[in-house]
């Protein structure tokens, strides 16, 4: 159906417009212009939630502070334990000072301290007491067995005269009280099966399952006792031979007269201190963890709420303005009395001002023409009246000029109202099924007659091109496209009118050779009363309404209007894309 097959090369640059490119937004949906694709769903790298959680890490210092505090507590407890042991040793020694019989009984001592220390058996306590031939001393020594520590009484040869107590104590395993409620059972489970193993990794756990072998020599031989036998209260701390526990011991000399006759050794593992420290640590950590957990959940919820509101505001604000910067709908101002609500309201206010301005701009032509029409009628009726009078011929010239000017003015006013009237027409336009190719061919035939000095090249697909729409509107749109092209085309160059189709849409494109569009103005071309290029002389009035009408008609058919420079910069293509979906329904 091409009337100018040789026109193909001329069309080539135009073909590279978004219509054929893969990333062109596909018009979808039947209502209104094709929605812009939402490419950047999430444009923030670090959301408010993540930021708040980051801030929350500051609170991780709290467990560290707690740990330091517990370590301090442990040091304090150790000092207390050492003092207690020293006190006990001193007290026992004080009771045994100057008691000569104690040392005289020693015919069959129990063995050296070194040997005895290794065999810790509570059952053998005070086994040697009976050997002492002094009920008073025996009573003192018997009383020692009530202690929680292990006490030795040795002579200068380090033979054990008496002993009491044991290093090992069966620790009561603290069973969490599990009352009936689900929550407390959950709490108990969390503490037993999650937290305790965790604490066990961090802290040394006291154990009664240690061995203290005498064979390891120097350690067991006792620095403490050497100090005590030298007459000095000595406190010693040593690990057991297997390293599983630490034993703290205090040794005090027993004086007989001016002579050190023996020593009292009181020793204890640090297990009690460790257990106490661990309990304090666990309690502190439980509280801190619970606070952190509740805090972070609350903050996360709060941050989610905030970011949801902000995102909703963003979506609404983006949806309110389309790609060409026109306001689509109103922004419902939030009633929230905080900053986000305030932001939403100020967005709403800005949008409504924008809407007012846009509608002012779009109706300005209509109102202006209405206002102009009355004074024009005054002038016209006056001139017409004058013309009806017998006037000398030389005056008739002026009447004729005035009438000519009035006719042009009337033409301008009529064209100004065209867009306004079109909007009314669109409101009640009826659609029908018709052959869009036939309309294009018919119109171009008309233009060839209407613009005899111009060359029109026509490219339409062969065969029928069914479309569901308003044919007279499509014709009006083509009128405007061609009027625009004729106005800016270089004299003698062809104007190419092309109808292209694919599965989903038609594209009517009119290309002319001439000055290119400035890049910055391309988006605004289709607004009311916006004219970008200087017309190439003469012709009708140029009000910047033609392409606005093109846009209105394209949008009425669910399509859109696009203006682009030819790739070689030697001209401009203005096109309207019309989705076919409507035709198929």
């Amino acid at each position: 159906m091409s009337s100018h097959p040789e026109a193909l090369p001329a069309l080539e640059p135009v073909r590279k417009t978004p219509f054929n490119s893969a990333d062109a937004p596909k018009p979808s949906g039947l209502d209104g212009p094709a929605p812009e694709p939402r490419k950047r769903r999430l444009r923030v790298a670090l959301g408010i939630r993540a930021q708040l959680l980051l801030v929350l890490t500051v609170f991780l210092a709290v467990p560290w502070l707690g740990f330091e505090y517990v370590k301090e507590l442990e040091r304090f407890l150790r000092d207390a334990q050492e003092r207690t042991l020293a006190g006990t040793a001193q007290a026992v020694a004080t009771a045994l000072h100057d008691r000569v019989p104690l040392f005289e009984a020693g015919a069959a001592p129990m063995g050296t301290l070194t040997a005895e220390r290794g065999t810790d058996d509570a059952a053998r306590a005070d086994a040697n007491v009976d050997a002492i031939d002094s009920p008073e001393i025996a009573q003192i020594l018997r009383g020692l067995s009530r202690t929680t520590a292990r006490i030795w009484v040795v002579d200068r040869e380090r033979h054990v005269l008496a002993r009491a107590g044991s290093l090992k104590h069966p620790w009561a395993v603290r069973e969490p009280a599990a009352d009936g409620s689900y929550l407390s059972r959950l709490g108990a489970w969390v503490e037993r099966d999650v937290l305790q193993p965790l604490y066990a990794r961090i802290l040394q756990q006291p154990t009664e399952d240690f061995k203290d072998e005498p064979a390891s020599g120097a350690v067991a031989s006792g620095k403490d006792i050497e100090g005590a036998l030298a007459g000095i209260l000595t406190i010693d701390r040593r690990p057991t031979t297997d390293g599983k526990a630490v034993i703290v011991s205090a040794a005090h000399p027993i004086w007989v007269g001016d002579e050190v006759k023996g020593a009292v050794i009181v020793e204890e593992t640090t297990n009690a201190v460790l257990a106490e420290r661990n309990r304090a640590f666990a309690r502190l950590f439980n509280i801190v963890l619970a606070a952190l957990l509740i805090g972070s959940v609350a903050l996360t919820l709060y941050a989610s709420w905030l970011s949801t509101r902000i995102r909703r505001l963003r979506d609404v604000a983006e949806a309110a303005i389309d790609a060409r910067g026109r306001v689509r709908g109103k922004l419902p101002g939030s009633t929230a009395r905080d900053e986000i609500g305030d932001l939403s309201r100020s967005f709403g206010a800005a949008l409504s001002r924008l809407t007012q301005y846009a509608s002012y701009q779009e109706t300005m032509a209509g109102r202006l023409s209405h206002e102009l029409r009355t004074p024009l009628a005054v002038v016209r009726s006056s001139v017409d009246n004058l013309a009806l009078h017998p006037l000398p011929a030389e005056l008739r010239v002026y009447i004729a000029r005035a009438q000519d000017g009035l006719a042009r003015l009337a033409n301008i006013i009529t064209r100004m109202t065209e867009a306004t009237r079109l909007e009314e027409t669109l409101a009640e336009a009826e659609r029908e099924r018709f052959d869009i190719a036939k309309v294009v061919v018919g119109c171009v035939d008309g233009y060839r007659a209407a613009y005899p000095g111009r060359v029109f090249e026509l490219r339409v697909p062969s065969g029928e091109a069914p479309f569901f729409g308003a044919p007279e509107l499509i014709a009006q749109m083509l009128d405007k496209l061609c009027e625009n092209a004729v106005e800016f085309a270089i004299e003698g160059t062809p104007i190419v009118v092309a109808l292209q189709q694919d599965e989903t849409r038609y594209r009517i494109a009119v290309t002319n050779r001439g000055r290119a569009l400035p890049e910055t103005m391309q988006g605004r071309l289709f607004d009311s009363m916006v004219s970008v290029r200087e017309p190439r002389g003469g012709g009708g009035p140029h009000l910047g309404l033609g392409l606005y009408i093109v846009r209105l008609i394209a949008e009425f058919h669910g399509g859109r209007a696009v203006a682009a420079n030819r790739d070689d910069g030697e001209g401009v293509t203005v096109s309207a894309t019309l989705p076919r979906v409507r035709a198929l329904r």
Partner: protein
């Protein structure tokens, strides 16, 4: 006795200009500024023709109300709306209220005079029997050029003056395409293309109301309209 024309118009310059030209053409003119004044005068004495502006001062739709009142007083007095308003909505509303024609204020005085003369001719001759030589017959269409009335298959088609002239322009040479400028010239109006489109749509609707198979007015896209002889 000269014919009496009432002009209801709030803009004094326009009112006086129209009144002057009409007087010069032998009509008796009564000019009114407000709706109430005009209506009071109409109650006393009906004019032979009324030219009414829609917006009368603060009374923005005063012309419509006046037209309705005048129609209630007389079914036959020709009424012409002459307004700065040119929206389809106003045109349809005005014609529905019983006006015979709707003109925008950029009409020239000769065009206005031609219409007034035509309307007088139409109302004057509606009583007398039609003269055969003044009838243009195109198939089922019959146009009485004297009375400016149209019939389709014997039924009266209620066309306004503008519409009648357009139908006449099209039907005179069936098969010939009349572009919009030609239609405007024939109908003595100056309007834009989409108003012509609206007029043609209204004409089609009027014929379709009588005959659902009516398809004599064909749109020739890019050129204009053409009257096709049915069958």
């Amino acid at each position: 006795m000269s014919r009496r024309i009432a002009i209801v118009e709030d803009e004094p310059a326009i009112r006086e200009n129209y009144a002057d030209v009409l007087r010069r053409h032998g009509y008796e003119v009564a000019a009114y500024t407000r709706r109430t004044d005009a209506l009071a005068a109409f109650r006393t004495r009906l004019p032979d023709l009324a030219i009414v502006d829609i917006g009368l001062g603060d009374d923005i739709d005063g012309g419509f109300a006046l037209c309705r009142d005048l129609r209630a007083l007389s079914a036959s007095v020709p009424i012409i709306f002459l307004s700065a308003r040119d929206s389809d909505f106003d045109i349809v509303a005005g014609l529905r209220l019983g006006a015979d024609d709707y003109l925008t204020k950029d009409v020239s005085l000769p065009q206005l005079l031609a219409r007034i003369a035509a309307l007088f001719r139409r109302s004057e001759l509606s009583a007398s029997p039609p003269a055969a030589e003044e009838i243009l017959e195109r198939g089922r269409l019959a146009l009485d050029l004297k009375r400016l009335t149209a019939h389709w298959a014997g039924m009266r088609v209620d066309l306004t003056l503008t519409e009648f002239w357009m139908v006449h322009a099209l039907a005179r040479f069936p098969g010939h395409v009349k572009d919009r400028d030609a239609l405007m010239r024939e109908a003595e109006i100056v309007v834009d293309d989409s108003t012509i489109t609206s007029h043609v749509k209204r004409i089609r609707k009027k014929f379709l109301a009588l005959d659902t198979g009516f398809d004599c007015i064909e749109t020739v896209y890019g050129m204009g309209y053409r009257w096709n002889l049915a069958g």
